[in-house]
């Protein structure tokens, strides 16, 4: 199986974190193809940045068409995820979606630990779009400026642990999601120190993508995830053009 993992922001250091965690999770027979957005911002925290990231992810998905059996959009918040599902005939997985659907099997109420205050509104809307707001116990977040997206885990380890404990004791969380690609791999590190199950988006997404690939559940030829109806288009980058004109 060939798995395309798209980092929809432009930071190679974040791509590296994602790749490292993906490689810890992936099955031996899965080939990973990493890609980093060619345009956009260093880290996605808002709806506008997600619009940029979703577009950049789609361009990559189109450029690589034929080279993969499943795709991961590797930013929590899942920029462009539902759009890509319409145009691709392979499973498309998002970090939030995969983490929520995995966490939901480990506990009834879920808390998300995030890396900034600003990002929490966008995350909340993403949980709501997944239809799981009723199972969200809380979103807790770091409240100090980040020195570097690549070193969040080291810089804020103690505070992340405290936030996790507050989510459990104050908010009623049964399970935690450490959210955002900069925290990729941290769940693995904290698992022993926390009294509830904890997951991160990258490993969940890799595992769910493999699962969906193996299930071969069939393609959407009708319903709202069928390909968009054929119609004129113009002015699009080659990648996007490719997605609209598949046989």
């Amino acid at each position: 199986m060939r798995l395309l993992i798209i980092n929809p922001n432009i930071s190679q250091s974040v791509t590296d974190l994602i790749e490292a965690e993906a490689r810890r999770t992936v099955a031996p027979d899965t080939q990973i193809l990493m890609a980093t957005a060619q345009n956009g911002v260093a880290y996605i925290e808002t709806r506008f940045e997600a619009l940029l990231g979703g577009h950049a992810a789609a361009v990559i998905a189109g450029e690589q068409l034929g080279n993969y059996d499943a795709v991961i959009v590797a930013a929590f918040g899942d920029p462009g995820l539902l759009a890509l599902k319409e145009v691709l005939d392979v499973p498309v997985v998002g970090l939030t979606e995969a983490a929520l659907m995995t966490a939901a099997q480990l506990g009834q109420r879920i808390s998300i630990i995030a890396i900034s205050h600003r990002i929490t509104s966008w995350y909340r809307e993403c949980v709501e779009q997944n239809g799981l707001l009723g199972r969200l116990a809380s979103i807790r977040h770091l409240d100090r400026p980040l020195r570097d997206a690549g070193s969040v885990q080291q810089d804020h380890a103690q505070r992340l642990l405290e936030l996790s404990q507050l989510a459990i004791r104050e908010d009623g969380a049964d399970v935690l999601i450490l959210a955002g690609a900069p925290l990729a791999g941290l769940a693995r590190g904290l698992a022993g120190q926390l009294p509830v199950p904890v997951v991160d988006g990258v490993s969940c997404a890799v595992a769910q993508a493999q699962l969906l690939h193996r299930l071969q559940a069939g393609l959407a030829r009708e319903g709202s995830f069928a390909r968009p109806p054929a119609k004129p288009n113009q002015g699009l980058p080659a990648g996007l053009q490719a997605l609209l004109t598949q046989a």
Copy 2:
């Protein structure tokens, strides 16, 4: 007041329909600036097409920065709407949002009449994102292929009237929204023939944009509609770059 109206799809004939309805609604002292997406598809019915439309709308909003006092994203479904609200210091209005908030003052339960089956899933998600799913009585839709987005009103007048009556009598609608730019102006034509109030997105959006401009409610310097935090970006079209680097 200068009002930028962006058609996020590439069809000049739809832009013309939008403009005609906008001019019927607009106040004498409002100047209208029309713009048509330079890239994308002929008509937006799906999430992927909305991703293209939202991106194209943002490019235009950035290119025209400084030339307008309010913006309308003139496709029902509101592609890119929340994203643009983050980066602009003027009111940004969507057709769905404006129609819903207007209709909600005319009746408790709202039905939407749409031009295709495919488009209804996207519309429903948009109503949900507006938080008004509890007030949605139904979405009814034309079920025959459209000959031309520019002549839907003439080709399907009788069926649109029947759908409206079904929404009232079967679904409990108190008020109707004729949805989608190709139906712009139809509400005006049918008003006398229908036994409940009926609105369309274009006239609602023009009226609400003028209202918001006059209220001068203040800018978002905090909260989730403040500008995205400053951070590196790369590879963006000039319009998008402009939106990220405003003083």
Copy 3:
């Protein structure tokens, strides 16, 4: 356009505050007709008081029948609003409804700042009746006794500002509503001092009433806002009788 603004409580000082803010907002060609409830209480904070206010508002609407093109029920909580919509052929607008539908276009999550603890339960139910509970970030309130409904703004300016800031920072509000006729005009005063958009019910209601009047969306001859079915009645004040026996 002739706009009837009904203060459903008996306080002339509150009517004056409402009128002053209405005159700041209104279009030049709109004539304002103010009316104060002839019976009821000094200030509406509860469901029982709202029942009194709704009845008194309906009496006035009936007595003035034919003298207006739109009506505003000018108490936050909207006493009698849906009832009046059934019997009047002109737009009827409430402060809560208008403020919510306006605020919802300025931000995703809305906080309400209220003048007493007691009033918050009634407000919350009103938000729920509008179907927008999912977009309510919080209701914050003054917690000290009010010296005078007419001087709340001066007496509590600093605390109102603090409450607004808490709503933004603690509750995730993107936009604020300063609620209740005694706060009419305060949004205008605070706009520069708050980091998010802020609206009040009076100016929103005036603006939305004008908007609905201009749209001429059509009358409800079916659906749940059509006139009540003709049937015997007895013992009603002339104003209410007039509403039931219109041609």
Copy 4:
């Protein structure tokens, strides 16, 4: 125990139906005091008519103050119910509320059978205000004009039975409510003919009022059902004045 049953519409024939069913249900030691609205309409089907009925019911409750140990507002839709709970120190029970809370103990999903199409919107809003919309399977209704509110049961017996069966088989109802005072007593008659439990509002309200009286759960001195804060009032009928000025 003295039980005041207020018919909030002006029809003595409906009062008689209510009384007959109440007497079939009531405990031997309960005295029933019937009262009919002195002003209002013949039958309440809409929000405006409910505003009239709620006001008329409050006047009666005030005039009879001291003469009862519990009150029933005896129209489905519960006009004025929450308002009266604020000002009275005895249990106040509504037909919809009592029927819903009783039915909810007999089945998970509830259908309501109503006597007209128009009335269904108001009923639905009342179910929503009770917070039980999630348990509503459907509202089915007679669709032919009523000859007489007093003879609905005889005139439409067969159709009421058919509607009940459709609610069970098509809508998934586990339990039925025959709604509206004109159907008072019909549940008793149909019980043997229907394959699920069936209740009506009058007998539920009488039974729940007795239950609440016996429980003596305590008075609301705080919270949103405490008496409205003391404040000036003017121009009110003696009954309403009495409610506001209790010791």
Copy 5:
């Protein structure tokens, strides 16, 4: 009327508390039959313990078949309640269900006071299953270890009072439920000391069971509370076997 009250946990001391409160509430012509689970745990706080308790309650209900006219499952959280309703032709009442439906007639927003932190998750799910999560103001709980389920009321009286006051003042509760059989009777004791109505599950359940018995609303022969379809079974205790093979 013969009323079977099943304590689904194995503690005779809790059965005694339940019986004492039941006897304070019950009508003179009702005979009470107490039963204590023969297997299970000392006190039910979790879903697993509820599974044990529901099974044990069903065994008793089957063993006593024919000896009662109504059944109460006397643990807050209602283990096995919906299951028993399917197989019994008499009313089956749960403490949570009865307390919620009673409290909902005394106030709009309800708080529950519980005896341990652990128990709150299960209670919340039970409120949600009743469809009343929207009316739940909060669940507050004792946070110190219980010395003895039989003496909670004495040991923690002051803290229970404080929790009640916090629920009213901080959470907006209009009415309180003192939850869990170990608190049976406490509501009666605190009623005078609390400024809102307060109920407990046992007295509500007894009263509602009597009410449902008197209403004789009819049996479920269709719908989801009809008896399970006839089919082979094996290996069941005599009590359960009896429930499946009734004529």
Copy 6:
């Protein structure tokens, strides 16, 4: 990895269907251990039957303690699932939960195809307990009596296909779940004939159980899925006793 799959009903023919589908899905290094309930009914369609099945499943899980790395409760409706998660230190997966969480990654709106009318109420409640009612498009069901749980697929193939198509075209389903162990494997057979993705519970549960085992997300030592607090118990079968007294 050792995977215990418990059929919570007593039908060996259903166990065989489950096993066959499980073996088609399972990874080469996973050992399957099948178990069939020793007591209960032939097929679970109702809440009471689920209570029996949940209890029987728990007994097996306790008897086999130490012999498995993950457990599947292999009846759609997930009897006993949340209870078992509390007492086991390994992943516990249910057919409904696993199918929903998988389907939710393949489409926004999900329809369930069920084998009887009666079973649909219980399924709907299970979807609601999973918090995904908002994503349920419909539950469609066979409406003719089943000749044999083991031959449903052959007997009703054409009707199952028709129901699937109705769910897509009438109800807006993007993805289908063929529900109930008797349909195990059918999704695989129909995949090519249906225009949307289709999954079944058994293969989803096997795949998700393997995924959760590999993620090693950590144990619940706090929160509502920690072990029940230690306390006296009595009279339990050895299996259940074992679950309560683990080190």
